[in-house]
Symmetry: C2
Subunit: 213 residues, 2 copies
């Protein structure tokens, strides 16, 4: 069976398509051409058609794309039709902020548990979920069908915790710790390195002022 590998460049654009299509759908727009979407999103119509055609012919010549069905298809491609249970490890400010964010639930991401090494935080409640001590992490992962672990702990403990997660069958790690994790093939890691992001911003601020006369 032939497996055409989709590049991460394409994958990275799918959530943005999904967002625009969702908004169009909510506005009651029924159909859209790659040309119109191009104007809205400021990417080329050609790229839009190439991107969609990686996954099959969702459009119709002379008509364009049906917003509702394209929205649903992209959601399916992104796996948003499936439920993904997640736990948050690290009940600090960032971890609690993510736990309190309701919108993930709407996309099928279900907040199941929260863990922290600090005994003072254990027992606290974040949106109905009690913070558990770290020694319950491994059994909890195994017994509660947890797909995704959100790592909001200092980098000093992140590598060690990631190894435990992998050993207990986690499928993906959403890593907010400022360190590169080394996981076996097949385990997905998505890094959110906030300070890297801020540094890019800083570069571009300074580049711009020196470019200007």
């Amino acid at each position: 069976m032939e497996v055409k590998e989709i590049s991460q460049a394409v994958i990275g654009r799918l959530p943005r398509y999904f967002r625009y299509l969702g908004e169009l759908k909510d506005e009651g727009v029924e159909r859209i051409s790659s040309q119109e979407l191009s104007g809205l999103m400021k990417v080329t119509a050609s790229q839009i058609r190439q991107d969609f055609n990686n996954f099959g012919g969702f459009g119709q010549q002379g008509y364009g794309y049906n917003v509702e069905s394209l929205y649903r298809e992209i959601g399916k491609i992104l796996g948003l039709d499936k439920q993904h249970n997640f736990v948050i490890i690290g009940a600090g400010n960032l971890g609690r902020a993510l736990g309190n964010y309701m919108n993930f639930e709407r996309r099928g991401f279900i907040f199941k548990g929260m863990f922290d090494a600090n005994p003072e935080l254990v027992g606290k409640d974040v949106r109905g979920v009690k913070v558990m001590p770290m020694d319950q992490l491994e059994s909890f992962i195994r017994e509660n069908d947890i797909d995704i672990a959100v790592l909001t702990i200092p980098k000093t403990s992140a590598v060690e915790v990631a190894d435990k997660l992998v050993a207990n069958g986690i499928r993906a790690i959403w890593n907010f710790a400022h360190v590169d994790l080394n996981v076996p093939e097949g385990i997905q890691v998505e890094n959110v390195h906030l300070s890297d992001s801020l540094m890019k911003l800083s570069y571009n601020i300074n580049r711009y002022s020196s470019d200007m006369k």
Copy 2:
């Protein structure tokens, strides 16, 4: 005066170089070759040399790169030797989490003010900074040499607030609102779309399981 434009692909890798070099420096490593760094970071030595040479010849044939000075140079390129004042707009969970994060200060990013439209949050203290009402935002930006605004507000108000920021001389927006901002050329926007990031993770989880036999 010739301006060689550095691609965002290169810029995006600089913070990671910076991080590895900082760790090497802390470990007391004095010099490193592109070959060694390649092994550590899992990118090609060729790419490392190309990347660095966009900014000048930091190395020495037969020796490699001096860790300390390369670290400092990259820091300078990223503008980390300059102070950047920032405000956070939106004192919800995420805004407060970012305000409480101390490590930005170490890199020259100084937390100067915080704003929220909700009167119940006004007056609250986040790491020594009092939450101010939105009607003080514009004068505060102008009078306190604010470079960067961190947007942690709902997307419904983000576009409007961004326009105000631009009108009052902001130079960069670190945008956590799930919407695309339209700003004039020269204003930098760095988006952190957390739900997009989570969707990518979701895609890769599902891709992997269907690829596997």
